[in-house]
Symmetry: C2
Subunit: 386 residues, 2 copies
Amino acid sequence: MSRGLDGQHPDRLARAVLTWIADPGDAQLGAVLRHSSPAAVVTALTTGAPLGAGPAAALDRARLRWAARLGDAPTVATLEAWQRDGIRLVCPGDPEWPGQLEVLGAARPWGLWVRGQADLRFACLRSVSIVGTRAATGYGLHVTAELAAALAERGWTVVSGGAFGIDSQAHRGALAAEGVTVAVLPSGLDAPYPRGHHDLFEAAAAQGALVSEQPPGRAPTRPGFLVRNRLIAALSRGTVLAEAALRSGALNTARHARDQHRPLMAVPGPVTSMASAGCHLAIRDWGAVCVTGVHDVLACLSFSPGDLAAPSRGPVLPRDKLDPVTRSVLEALPARGGRGPARIAVSAGVDFDTVLRCLGQLAAGGFIERCERGWRVRRPADRKAG
Amino acid sequence: MSRGLDGQHPDRLARAVLTWIADPGDAQLGAVLRHSSPAAVVTALTTGAPLGAGPAAALDRARLRWAARLGDAPTVATLEAWQRDGIRLVCPGDPEWPGQLEVLGAARPWGLWVRGQADLRFACLRSVSIVGTRAATGYGLHVTAELAAALAERGWTVVSGGAFGIDSQAHRGALAAEGVTVAVLPSGLDAPYPRGHHDLFEAAAAQGALVSEQPPGRAPTRPGFLVRNRLIAALSRGTVLAEAALRSGALNTARHARDQHRPLMAVPGPVTSMASAGCHLAIRDWGAVCVTGVHDVLACLSFSPGDLAAPSRGPVLPRDKLDPVTRSVLEALPARGGRGPARIAVSAGVDFDTVLRCLGQLAAGGFIERCERGWRVRRPADRKAG
């Protein structure tokens, strides 16, 4: 898959630079971006011009921090090299940008580095995060694999953090069911962490996507894990805590889901197992819904307000912002009734894989929808800007 | 223990007759008792006099039902014989009557048949019901025994239904910790059901009490089990569902606790165990609190409104209704400061066991309270009629 940088918004390179110079979730940068464009911020940092409103002293310290990394920040050439390695940058306003990340407010990622076949926005429209302890028991691993596979079989994407134990088992369960999985990683995507999951990550990229706020070359940091967790919760429609002890990092993800008012679920376990104590805590004290299987999870999600496909806020995607190939796929759909991907591929004159990717983008943008006979155009009255 | 019938309220024999002729929870009789005394009802049934207000047709059918059993209803001699066998009748207004049963409204028992050393009212002031499936797993039995023993060690009475599986394990756990346990049985107390628990019931009577709404001689019936369950929930300050499948009768007890607005708790288990599916249902759909041990249970109960010792309604127990022995024990307490049971026994001139029983009654009535140095008189400002 090749997506060039040419003709893209000038903020794209600036956002790549921001992911390089500022840590994910940096509150100072979030505040600055409320009033300035990414390009203006990078220009100001380069030229020493003022950065706009904000507490002066804190902003000065932040400038020093950011400027220290400016020297080896990525250039257009760097981005093109990464893109040749399959690592693309997805920015707010892009067709692939998941609109549900708006829940993060000023802590929204500057941009997301993505590797993999899936369209990130489309993959996460119907997605569930499954997270848990690294020190998983046989019980936790069993339950996680069953749940992830059952969700994948029903067309749900499984989001997790790629870690040892429950996280990787969730990815494996989805992959085993030939489903889509998204791994949100704490490291740069050139060397996904943990290294021991190399084969798993390759499979996830082939059937889904790897995502990171960190640019290539960046190793994971301890605070980075915690900041990453907010993204796992924000990408998905709900979070399931599959197995977690009282001090598990997965409880941090669960708290993010709760704070984001997304459905939080937890799988109970034997009260004699300390590995489930965090799940029981979440059920008892945090209002997590007690879920025992896929039906409970889907029932819980059906009560969540609205579909992530139709958030009330977020970037609008006009038809003329579609790339030419995607637009040709859209135009290959009949005015009435549905059509399957194979016939669309013939009509549009593009290959089958490209059709599937474009259909995902178009569905995410609210242009088309699935029907019994394949895909059809949504009528304007049904469509909500996404 | 011997408690004569002499000098008791004339309704006492009538209530014994009512337990004989009407099933527990009989809605028609409950309605009639709103306007008529038990003695008036029995007299009317015997003489054919009218029974007061109510839908005439339903009442006529009920009369036939009740009258059919009038022939061999208990007499004063029967009650005295049962009393010699250790089976006493506890009626509303008696010092031993648990005031919290008022929550049942018109479905309040006509009277309770009790066998055992404990004062029922006192025993149930700080009590927790632990109920569950007959088809218990090793996990459920283990958790139940641990929880019951931990509650008993902290001075809580464990209430359950005496059945195979979780119920009997709850009684055993309390007894093993030398605590008090109350078994609410679906049969007459001359032949407690199930028979296989004979030794357990003897131990429960020695350290606590057996309770039934059914008079001696009555075998358990299928509807009787369900009606009995409302009493398990109503007697205790909260109900814990320890292990229950989806069709377990224990879920019926749990629903009663919920409907009575008493704290309902459930112990989670492996989601792979169908024996815990009812617990998970209660947590997910009925608002049962997820409890993993004694600390969770006590924390949950501490949020429950008020102490069962001080219900806002219910029979008032005036000092002159105390029996002479109990009154002498009350008078043996000093006007100021506390005194231990041994010294009270000497002052009152009664044996030690009797002193313990009377102290329980007096505490239940709000006359006295425990203090560091034993027992002391509660000042009128502290006392609430109970």
